[in-house]
Structure formats: C-alpha cells, structure tokens
Symmetry: C2
Subunit: 338 residues, 2 copies
C-alpha cells in the first residue's frame, strides 16, 4: 500500500507536491505533474481518504437517512430509485454515499449525532417525516447541510427540500379524465394524514373548478388504504343514483380493489368507467386492463436532492431552495375510451 511519501520519494519530489497534484492545484508544472502521475499509476496509489478527511475536516461522504418502517411514504421501488439518483450525483463528485436506517439500534437523534459529530458525513438527505423545529434549529445552529425529501410540515424556518408536485398530479389526473370524455369523475383517496394525499385531492378539486365542474362530495372518498377498502368504496360509488363514469384512485392497491368492484358490477373498463391511479408501480402494467397512472420521476428527485445538498455544501450562504418534480400521465388501457 503506497502512501503519499512513497510516491514522493519514488518521483523525487516532496509530498506537498504530490498533495497538490492529488488536489488539482494549478501551481504545478506540467512536467512534474506527468512525472508524479506516472509514479502514482505504477505504485497503484490511491489517496487515503481517512487522512484526507482528517486533514480537511470533512468526511467526503453524504448520508441518506431512511425510515424503514414508513413504508407508505417512501416505499420500496421509490426509495430505490431516489437512492440511485442521489448516488449518481454523489459518486460523480468523488464522495461516498452512506445509508442509515433511523429505526436501527440508535435512535433518531443519536444516529444523527453519531453521523454528524463523529465526522462520518458532511451532509444528509432525510425524509421530511422526521423533521421538527428543534432538529431544524440544531442543524442550522451548527450549519450542517441537509435536504429533506418531501415537503416538511409545520417547520417555521425555510429549509431546503424536494418533493413531487402532488397538487399538479391531482390536476393532471382530473384533466386527463376530462380529455378522455369522462364527465362524472370520482376520487378514492389515500389516508389524509399524509400531506401528499391532501395535495393530490386539492389538485383534483382545483381542476374541477378550473373546468367549471361542480364538486360533488358524494364522489369523493378519503382515507382508504387497502384493496378491500378500494373495493367497498367503489361499490358504494356504483350504487349512487347517478354513479360516476370515472374514478381516480390514490394508489395501485386501491385501484385493484376498485377494478374488482367494477368487474363484479359487469361494467366495462374503460367504456363504462375509466380508472386512473397515482403511483406508477410495476403492477399497473400487469393488470387487465392495464392501468393509466400518474407517473413520477423519482430518480430525478434523488438527483435534485443531491444537487441542492452540494449547493449548500459548496456555499453555506446559499438561499434555501425548494424543488418540485413534475408529474405526468402514463396512459394505458384503463382510460382509453376512444
């Protein structure tokens, strides 16, 4: 294992010179640089990141905190892609990404302390669900760079975050239905505790208004979570004196329940009833008919989170930035009336 000293000796220069070359300092003659680079290659030299980190007082590491229990907010496929987005940016800057689960041995604050004060990382990306005013105050006090995934609620100071534009998603969902000729568009929404569900519903309502369609409370169900609930709620909708001719569901699971109810009522999708779902999961392609969804570029969300984080790291005075990722409709058979 060659060290900077070995390289310096072998190249006949001082270790400061080698250090300067490692750090791309311009104050080095081309001749020396070539010579040293050659020696580095020969010795298979890789700078010791621990020594660099100690000297620079930074870990060359970014941490992604996840909450494994919080399956709904950032569940499997999503999380995976967010992570990959972050990773792409982090590694392209020559840092490592460390991941840590908040539900592990250490408690939330402890693990953050451990990561931050133990100099294990120089920035974190964390789910908005764990943010609170005290934590924000603390992080700001020590000027520690952080970015939140998801817009945090009830935070007084402005902070940096990225989120899906769920309001836009709700609007797009309704507008897609309208464009396909549906008139009476119902809504089976997910749990209203989650901000993103509230935003989606607001988007739906706003689009109703924009399009001069009357809002009918009996068309809107909230707080559903399981296939079974989707099924039951859809059944009720079908039984209405004037049943809807389309339904927007909060997620794929609800949709599957709703589809079952529609099939049992011998109604045709998409002819009699159109159906559209938030969250573009693999299952949307597999069901019969395939499911039109509101799609999200989760990878991009990771990329933006990381970019914002580096912006703060590079310039601690940078203005806070909030970034919304656009949604788009992934059209499939379930709304293709034609």
């Amino acid at each position: 294992m060659a060290s900077i000293n070995d390289v310096a000796k072998a190249a006949g220069v001082s270790k400061s010179t080698v250090s300067r070359i490692i750090n791309d300092s311009p104050a080095i003659s081309d001749e020396t640089r070539q010579k040293v680079l050659k020696v580095m290659k020969e010795l298979n030299y890789v700078p010791n990141s621990l020594a660099r980190g100690l000297s620079n007082q930074q870990a060359f590491t970014v941490a992604l905190l996840i909450n494994i229990k919080d399956v709904k907010s950032f569940s499997n496929p999503f999380f995976y892609e967010v992570m990959h987005g972050i990773e792409t940016v982090v590694y392209s800057r020559g840092l490592c990404m460390i991941t840590a689960n908040l539900e592990n041995t250490l408690k939330q604050n402890e693990i953050l302390n451990w990561l931050i004060y133990g100099k294990r990382t120089q920035g974190v990306i964390l789910p908005s669900s764990i943010m609170n005013n005290q934590l924000v105050r603390e992080l700001k006090k020590i000027r520690f760079p952080f970015v939140t995934i998801g817009e945090p609620e009830g935070i007084k100071e402005p902070i940096d975050w990225v989120d899906i534009n769920n309001f836009q998603g709700g609007m797009q969902a309704l507008e897609h239905m309208i464009s396909q000729g549906y008139k009476r568009i119902a809504y089976i929404g997910g749990e209203q505790v989650k901000t993103f569900n509230k935003k989606r519903l607001s988007g739906y309502k706003a689009a109703l208004e924009n399009n001069g369609i009357e809002y009918k409370p009996e068309y809107v169900c909230e707080g559903a979570a399981t296939k079974d609930e989707g099924y039951k709620l859809m059944k009720q909708l079908i039984k209405l004196p004037q049943p809807p001719d389309a339904v927007i569901c909060g997620d794929n699971v609800l949709s599957i329940g709703a589809m079952k109810a529609i099939n049992e009522a011998k109604l045709n999708i998409p002819k009699d009833i159109g159906i559209l779902s938030f969250d573009n999961m693999p299952i949307a392609d597999l069901v019969e008919p395939s499911l039109t969804t509101v799609d999200i570029d989760v990878f991009e969300m990771g990329v933006q989170a990381a970019n914002i984080l580096f912006k703060i790291i590079d310039n601690p005075e940078a203005r806070q930035q909030q970034s919304m990722i656009s949604t788009c409709i992934k059209m499939r058979e379930s709304t293709c009336r034609e």
Copy 2:
C-alpha cells in the same frame, strides 16, 4: 466541537486515558472512567471517526455494491430488504454502511480499488454476478474481506457467499402441489441463463423423482420472462392432449400471464388448475385469486451476509462459509383446492 484533548483537559486526565475509555480498555479505574464519561456527556463529545480510522488503519465502514442494471437478479423489493438486513448488523457493531452502484461513473474495478485502496471500507458485500477468478485472486491476495450475494459460478477457489436455497424452493413448490392433490404439474420457468432458475428447475425435477412421478418434457417450458410469454406458454399447456392440472411459474409476472390464459379458457383456479409462483411480491396478494408463492427471507440473507463478513474481518483465518437461506411456501387461494 469537543476533541479528545478537550475532554482530557476538562477531566484532568491525559488523552491516552480518554482514548482507553473510548475503546473500553479494562485497565482503567472505575472512578476515572465515570469522571471521564461524565465530561464526555457534558461536552457532547463524539470521537472523530476519521482520526480513529486513520490511527487504526480501518474505515469502520462496510460497503454494499449493487448493480442497478441487473434488475432481474436482485431487483427492487429484494434488494431493499437485503440492504436492511445488512444494515442492521453493521450498525449494531458501530460501523457505517456505504452503498455504491457498479454502473456509476467509475467502472467496476476502479470503484473497488477506490473503495479498498482509498481506505474507504474494510469489507464489501457484492453480487455474485460481478465475480470472476481474477477479482477473487486479487481480493484474496490483499486479504480483503468480502462476501458474495448469490452463489458465484465458475469460481475456482472457495469463497464466502450466501444464497437462497433455490433447489429446495423448487422441491417445495412441487411437493406443495402434490399435497394439494394436483397430479399433472407443469413448470413455466424463467431464463435459464440465471443459475437460480436452473436450480429451481432441478429441485422440481428431483421432487418429481422422489415422488415417483414421471418427468414429462412437454410440461416444462423454460426461458420465459414476460407476462405475454407466460400467457402464451400456458395456452399451449392447456391445449395439450392431456393438459396439466397445476403449474409452477418462475415469477409473479409469468404467473399473471398464465392466469390470464387459464381464465380465458374458462378454467377455474384453483379447482381446475392450481398455480404457484416463485418470488413473493406484493402483487401476489392483490391478484384474484391470490397467489401461492415460494417465499424467501431476504432480510435474513442480508443479516447472514453481514455476519459472515464480520467473521472474516474478526478472523482472517476463518474457514470459508457458504450459507443457504431456506424457502417456504406462502399458501394463498391459487392452490387451495380443498
């Protein structure tokens, strides 16, 4: 930010003493220990991991390499749980976990070099798909601890790995079918390039033999990957002069295709044809009827991978260990003939 010196001064001891306490050295009087621990708490002291690492010549970090492109072998939900399993063990030992994607800016070897020679990590867990004899030789030469996820192919030297017991899975699948009274059990397998698919099929064949059932080549299709292929293959099976009364599918996607074919033929699941799938994905619970699957404890696989890795780290002379995670049948409606 308190350093070891601050603690030493505040406690009126030398920094060696503080260091000994950090490292749980027994050669410390209880009195001193209590005194120093109290000061540490007061100063909110956390040891600088970079300095410790530099001094100890180890990063206190374990790396998980993933191959984001290789969706089939270790795809989303799986990977997520493996990671969580690893993480649980890693953090309980006070180390960090870093993840790195092989498809990133750096190439495979470069990123490994970068991680290892840059002292960024003291052990890696990596997918068997990237293993080759040269890499094994190199890692062994420098005695770098590593564990493979999945049994590697064509590796000459014995190495440490964990894998799902896919052979057992294949046997269990067939035996479950038999126990439910099915007689003519077909098999729609995944791509045979993948070792795990070969093993599953071998298990199926072995179980046939164990149970004195004749192997019928026309009942076995291989190399399918999409819903559509599942559909077509199932259709062919149904058209056979003596069609099967049960089918085992290589994954959930194939199963959905097969179910479609069965439904179109107006056959009942599970009465006329039973269906069972490898891989217990969320979708298995959502389809109608719900799908019996071969389930896998992927979390446990991560735990074992990490445990083996630490065994090697703690004792470089340890014998190589291969660990197989048992499968089990998750019974649902699709095979419930009763």
